[in-house]
């Protein structure tokens, strides 16, 4: 699936849920499926410090594709990371760098999450795209 196909699938999954509590239920479930970061990468370098919870994010280049692993001390945050990882992991640096992420707005996450959470989500996304750009540059060198 392309990044956009994955996004569209997520949007469709969420569209079946009317209640925000159901959406959270789903996000939390996704968090449990998040490919966990190897503890040795749980370093300060890989830490994205939010206001109230923390996120560790790591990436490996495997067969020309970026594989993301992550973790968070908060379960909902983990679910949100998981959304991003499921959409972006397994794509080439170029695809990631050039991707346009619209599912966050479409699902209504940005307007429904607390601003600190949605800011956190955006800085995670930014970090993943930076990895995309960095690996792209590296491969061109």
């Amino acid at each position: 699936m392309t990044i956009n196909e994955k996004q569209d699938e997520l949007i469709s999954d969420f569209s079946f849920m009317d209640e925000w509590m159901d959406k959270y239920e789903y996000i939390i479930q996704l968090g449990k499926d998040l490919p966990l970061i190897d503890p040795k990468y749980k370093t300060d370098d890989n830490l994205i410090k939010g206001c109230q919870s923390q996120v560790w994010l790591h990436t490996d280049l495997v067969d020309g594709k970026l594989i993301f692993t992550a973790d968070s001390d908060a379960v909902i945050t983990k679910g949100l990371v998981s959304l991003l990882v499921s959409v972006l992991s397994g794509h080439t640096p170029k695809e990631i760098a050039e991707s346009e992420i619209y599912f966050i707005d479409e699902i209504g996450l940005r307007s429904h999450l607390s601003p600190t959470r949605s800011n956190g989500l955006l800085s995670m996304l930014k970090q993943m795209k930076i990895y995309g750009i960095a690996y792209q540059v590296k491969s061109q060198q």
């Binding site: 925000w20 959270y24 919870s53 001390d73 909902i76």
Partner: protein, 415 residues
């Protein structure tokens, strides 16, 4: 499982009181609001909003120096509010009541003027381990500036101050003691009478951070014989941006002024400026006139209901909350003080408070999560933060019940 006490027929009519607060009638995500973030700020009764509106529609004007009618009315109402508040805390003189921006401003004022007027290098200031940042950082800034030392009264696992350690900290170097009357993160009611008595035995003045006390229990500055008291209007049903510093005249008369500006001076020349008498000496610039007057209205509202009644009711309510929350699987309280007021802090299993807070919010229950501006308390308990439910006179049993239901639902999702 703990015994659940009944709420005895309260001396106050909570249903009627709730109707006085427009915001309590609001819905959040389509659900009736359960507002349990009262330690952060309280909602306002209609009479406070009416007072604000009347001020701006009928007599808004700058105070004190105007000969014209509006200015006279505004000045009278502003001073009347001071009298109301002076009576409320039983100040000997209304001039001992200073309008500030809030608790933080009041504490900074005293820290600053002590720094400039009293503290020498090597002197000591005592605070406690359960202070709000607003009663830590002003003293840190001042101590750094003056080469003084900040000492800390430690607390125990229950979240209570260790009084023997306090006694041992007091010395001839101690120039002031500043402690919270009630802890905002733990709900602990500190033994302020004992704290004051021990300090006064050595002629050391005491400041009480009453931000979490003033709205919950009667506070009589003469009976306590306290030297300084700070509190915020917005936590006692008044507007944001206004607060109170009470100070004994003997202190305020001799301490240097804080901010300089209009109204706080007697005469100004570039060569020599002489300062005004109390309370004006400490009220530089145009004050928050509407805020002060509306705070007067809020305090009057509280007085009409009666702090004794509020205190009795809230005590039952807190007990009920503790009892009900105890039944939640995996819930543990952070702080188990013998005397508790206004708030309960807790965690459920290993659930992150932030996750719990978010799912409570989505169920229409507003609580606060995090360090509650008391990081040293969180460090002490080695936790990232707590979930805190805090109460006001309008909180009712249903609020607590809905909190408990919401926690159970959220916890089930998060486990």
């Amino acid at each position: 499982m703990a015994h659940v006490p009944d709420i005895a027929a309260p001396a106050l009519d909570i249903d009627k009181i709730r109707k006085d607060f427009p915001l309590l009638q609001e819905k959040v995500y389509g659900k009736p609001l359960v507002y349990l973030d009262n330690s952060a700020t309280t909602q306002k009764p209609q009479v406070v909003l009416d007072t604000l509106e009347r001020y701006y529609k009928q007599y808004n004007s700058n105070v004190h120096r105007g000969v014209h009618h509006l200015s006279q009315v505004a000045s009278e109402e502003y001073e009347a509010a001071r009298h109301i508040i002076a009576a409320f805390i039983n100040a000997r003189e209304h001039e001992e009541v200073i309008f500030t921006k809030g608790t933080t401003d009041s504490i900074n004022l005293i820290a600053n003027v002590f720094g400039r007027g009293v503290i020498k290098a090597g002197d000591e200031v005592i605070v406690s381990a359960m202070e709000h940042h607003s009663n830590i950082v002003p003293w840190q800034i001042m101590c750094e500036d003056r080469g003084a030392v900040l000492k800390v009264i430690p607390m125990d696992e229950n979240g209570e101050l260790i009084m023997s350690e306090y006694a041992a900290l007091l010395s001839d170097k101690t120039k002031i003691v500043s402690v919270a009357y009630v802890s905002n993160s733990l709900g602990t009611v500190n033994p302020v009478r004992e704290i004051i008595a021990l300090a006064h035995a050595r002629n050391i003045p005491v400041m009480l951070d009453a931000a979490q006390a003033i709205q919950h229990m009667p506070l009589d500055v003469q009976e306590l014989d306290v030297d300084f008291v700070a509190f915020s209007g917005h936590k006692i049903y008044g507007p944001t941006g206004i607060g109170i510093l009470y100070g004994k005249r003997e202190w305020l008369d001799k301490l240097p002024p804080y901010q300089g500006g209009g109204d706080m001076i007697k005469t100004v020349t570039f060569a020599k400026t002489t300062y005004n008498v109390l309370p004006f000496k400490y009220e530089a610039g145009t004050p928050d006139i509407s805020g002060a007057i509306a705070l007067g209205a809020a305090v009057k509202y509280v007085q009409e209901i009666g702090l004794e009644n509020i205190h009795a009711y809230e005590e039952q309510l807190v007990n009920y909350a503790v009892a009900q929350l105890s039944k939640v699987e995996g819930l543990r309280f952070i702080g188990n003080p013998k005397h508790r007021s206004g708030a309960v802090s807790f965690l459920v299993d290993t659930i992150h408070p932030y996750d719990l807070g978010e799912l409570l919010d989505k169920q229409g229950v507003a609580i606060r999560t995090g360090h509650h501006c008391a990081e040293p308390v969180m460090d002490f308990f080695c936790i990232p933060g707590t979930v805190r439910a805090s109460f006001a006179m309008y909180t009712n049993k249903e609020d607590i019940d809905r909190l408990v239901v919401a926690i159970n639902k959220a916890a089930a999702m998060l486990r």
